[in-house]
């Protein structure tokens, strides 16, 4: 059972990291619009056809 004396502090450390990440996410507005970013993964970033004159596209992603 003595293993819990090590494991629980490690768990607490992980929780602290999780809280840190969560606070950072809140601070950087990631919870402002849950609707849009929930579905943005479904929308393709590529703009087919006229792909050559674009400066804001993610590289190397084609269907």
């Amino acid at each position: 059972m003595s293993i819990i004396y090590v494991l629980i502090p490690i768990a607490i450390l992980l929780v602290c990291i999780a809280i840190g990440v969560f606070f950072w996410a809140v601070k950087s507005n990631q919870f402002e619009d849950l609707e849009r970013h929930g579905s943005s993964i479904l929308f393709d970033d590529d703009l087919p056809k006229k792909a050559n004159n674009q400066n804001t596209k993610t590289p190397g992603k084609h269907d």
Binding site: I8, I12, V26, D33, R36, S40, L47, Q54
Partner: protein
């Protein structure tokens, strides 16, 4: 089968013929506007939008050119100063965008803007209908960005978040952090303590238990100090104001449990309830967060509504009228204010006379007549007549004050049942405090070791959160549901009243009908030149913002008009080349009409001589018939300013039993007042300037997204996509919402009454009390959430 517009899903009139290629297929559109938007989307390679979207788009604006002209005012330095944050050559602006219906709209706008050279960052917030844009101000102008958005069918306006909205946002973030922390900690503490709880066989030795207690204390401390901070300050504020609120027993329970837990841990002797403590805070925060975020969202949307407040004015320079920013107006400049428009600045009338509604400034609804030489104030609405104003004071302050006033009013109008619950909870809390104190004293006599825990159980178990949640949770779910259907609720308490409505009044022009007149026929009196008559009429109508005026907008209107005035619901008059002309209804013209032009509804006359009659027709909206079929109320009345024959035709075609024609705004007001005096709850659906007063008078008022500013400012419910069928949805939701509120309150009260004897007699340990309290709150919230479906 009727064909529907590929872009906005409206039915296409069979004679129209607008097509373009999307995904290689020929698609049909309802108007040149929608067609142009679709073309722009396809030409930019963004046709995937039509795959991604889950909702149809809004009908596009047709007079695009005019729109783009007005956008130029946004390149003005003063606007840049106010709305744009500039760092080196990067500018950042917040825009509110109307027309966003689903997440694909956000995608489309981002992609469309990304094509402009000079755009650095675009972020579209779909739920708030806003975007923040960063761009390089050397390559790009603001008006270019706005017109680019306009081209794909959305309307963007610069926007400055209100001070209190910024604080709302801060609070929202703080809430999230507190909630997240409490949630994570609750999980940890529960994990440890579940082990202890279910240790039925005594395998956990005393030393481990003590270790668990210390860890629990360590994990609970941030929850008590940070997550629960809001409760302390709220309870403290209440006590300082010498009242008690819900937070007082909460703070009492929290601090008692925590302090006794600390003592028990340090002395290694006695009970601790850290897990109950964490869960209690976590669940309380959830309910508070729900309520807060509902209000945050409402404040965002109502702040977006401010875009409808005119920020532009019509500057008169010589004979030219240019739209400019109201802010940029300087003293001594001349401004034209048409009827139905808001006066943009304080000034003196130098030409024309008008009836002004100064309710926003004075609170008195009666119209004030003003003529040249008198002062008008920014924010008052010119109901009647056209004014030319000389600016006496620049805008600074006055308008902003009034807007924030208007918004605060909206925020303060809390639902009646909710405020009743608040009052009720005052007494409730007092009773709880008295009961827990007396049972503490009694238990001290019976069993001193249990006295504290019994008291804490009473405090926790009877926590009136479920009662406090009953109304706001139901209302916010109903509002969210309506919002997702394209219905904007300006006051949540309108929902409460809608369920009691038994008398419905409908406006005809622009509400049941499209409100877009088209000139169907022009019959002139023998000896009169038709073209000349049309020109005269068009020149007169250019000063009016009545829907009728738009029918004439395609005709050349170069004639000079002076002494122009308009009578709401009747007509317009003015002098051209020194001759007095009247254009309007029969009663306004006041002349006998020959038989052959009797079918017309607008007449042109001069000096007691009839010149010409115009037949203007107005199409009945597609949703009108369906709406009337679905609304099941006893009294349905059509109120219109139009002539009896036209009103009768519309009423008959839509099966409306009662109709009143030739109603002036005052008449409409009286009709509604009379109904209200007979104890009817009146719902008014209207859209125009002349509906403003009656919309304000009605118990619930509904208007369309395409209505005049005035109608929007006095309406409670706005149907953003202009489809009248949505009214029946509002009715249905209102009914369900009311049922939910009553269920919730009944449950919350019943639970508290049931649990109190259990807690007082000591049957309930604190953790059971927490579970019971949170279960009752969760049941209330879950019950409300069913409204979302």
């Amino acid at each position: 089968m009727q064909t529907k517009c590929f872009h906005c899903d409206l039915v296409i009139a069979p004679q129209l013929n607008y097509h373009t290629n999307v995904f290689g297929n020929q698609q049909s559109f309802c108007c040149p506007g929608c067609c142009a938007v679709a073309e722009a989307i396809v030409n930019n390679g963004l046709e995937d939008y039509y795959h991604y979207r889950s909702e149809f788009a809004e009908k596009a604006q047709e007079n695009e050119y005019e729109m783009l002209q007005t956008l130029k005012v946004f390149d003005d330095d003063s606007i840049l100063q106010e709305f744009v944050e500039i760092q080196d050559d990067a500018s950042e602006i917040q825009l509110t965008i109307s027309g966003i219906n689903c997440a694909a709209c956000g995608w489309l706008i981002e992609k469309q803007l990304a094509k402009l050279t000079g755009i650095m960052k675009v972020g579209v917030n779909v739920s708030a209908r806003r975007a923040s844009i960063t761009w390089n101000n050397e390559h790009l102008k603001l008006s270019q960005i706005l017109s680019h958005i306009e081209k794909i069918g959305y309307h963007a306006k610069p926007f400055q978040p209100e001070q209190h909205e910024a604080s709302f946002r801060q609070e929202n973030k703080a809430f999230l952090k507190r909630l997240g922390l409490a949630g994570l900690m609750t999980m940890q503490v529960m994990m440890l303590n579940i082990g202890v709880f279910f240790d039925l066989f005594g395998h956990i030795d005393a030393q481990t238990k003590q270790y668990f207690n210390w860890i629990s204390l360590l994990l609970t401390t941030p929850v008590i100090l940070y997550s629960a901070a809001e409760f302390y300050s709220s309870a403290w504020r209440a006590l300082r104001a010498k009242v008690v609120n819900m937070d007082v027993p909460i703070v009492l329970a929290l601090s008692l449990t925590y302090v006794s837990g600390v003592f028990a841990t340090v002395q290694n002797n006695g009970q601790t309830y850290f897990e109950s403590l964490c869960m209690f805070v976590f669940l309380l925060l959830i309910s508070r967060y729900l309520e807060h975020s509902a209000r945050y969202k409402a404040s965002q949307l109502s702040a977006n509504m401010l875009e409808y407040m005119p920020t532009t004015a019509n500057l008169v320079e010589g004979k030219q009228i240019t739209p400019v920013l109201a802010k940029s107006l300087m003293v001594e400049q001349l401004v034209l204010v048409k009827s139905g428009e808001m006066v943009p600045v304080d000034g003196i009338i130098i030409e024309g006379a008008g009836q002004l509604d100064e309710a926003m400034l004075t609170g008195e609804f009666k119209l004030v007549s003003k003529s040249s030489g008198q002062t008008v104030f920014a924010g008052s609405v010119n109901q009647l007549g056209t004014l030319t104003i000389k600016v006496t004071k620049s805008l600074k302050g006055s308008m902003l004050n009034q807007i924030s006033l208007l918004q605060n009013q909206a925020l303060l109008s809390k639902p009646k049942i909710a405020s009743l619950a608040d009052q009720f909870s005052q007494y409730f809390v007092l009773a709880v405090l008295v009961i827990s104190l007396s049972s503490y004293i009694i238990w001290l006599q019976i069993n001193p070791s249990q006295a504290l825990w019994v008291t804490i159980s009473i405090l926790i178990a009877t926590c009136p959160c479920a009662l406090g949640l009953a109304t706001p949770s139901a209302l916010s779910c109903a509002v969210a549901h309506l919002n997702s259907k394209g219905v904007l609720l300006k006051r949540a308490d309108a929902l409460e009243k809608i369920s009691k409505v038994d008398w419905v009044a409908l406006d005809k022009t622009g509400t049941l009908t499209e409100g877009k007149f088209t000139l169907a026929d022009c019959i002139s009196v023998p000896g009169q030149n038709k073209n000349r008559c049309l020109q005269l009429a068009a020149s007169l109508e250019q000063y009016s913002s009545h829907p009728i005026a738009k029918a004439f907008s395609d005709i050349t209107n170069t004639l000079q008009v002076s002494d122009f005035s308009s009578k709401i619901g009747q007509g317009v008059e003015g002098k051209i080349d020194g001759i007095h002309f009247k254009l309007g209804s029969v009663s306004f013209v006041g002349l006998a009409v020959p038989k052959d032009i009797l079918g017309c509804n607008v007449f042109l006359s001069t000096n007691d001589k009839l010149l010409c009659g115009f037949l203007l027709t107005d199409k009945v909206r597609t949703g009108s018939a369906q709406m009337i079929k679905k609304i099941k109320v006893n009294h349905l009345t059509l109120l219109s300013g139009d002539i009896p024959s036209v009103v009768k035709t519309v009423a008959n075609s839509l099966n409306i039993p009662n109709w009143l024609a030739q109603q002036t705004p005052e008449d409409k007001l009286h009709v509604v007042q009379k109904a209200q005096n007979n104890n009817h709850v009146v719902l008014m659906v209207g859209d125009g300037i002349n509906d403003g007063p009656v919309l304000a008078q009605a118990d619930v008022s509904v208007t369309l997204g395409a209505s005049s500013d005035l109608a929007k400012s006095s309406a409670d419910v706005i149907l953003l996509d202009n489809s009248l069928e949505k009214i029946s949805v509002v009715f249905a939701i209102a009914k369900r919402c009311r049922a939910k509120i009553i269920q919730n309150m009944g449950w919350a009260l019943g639970y508290n009454l049931l649990v109190l004897p259990l807690a007082v007699t000591g049957f309930l340990s604190p953790w059971m009390a927490v579970v019971g309290m949170s279960l009752s709150s969760l049941i209330v919230v879950a019950n409300s959430i069913r409204l979302l479906k």
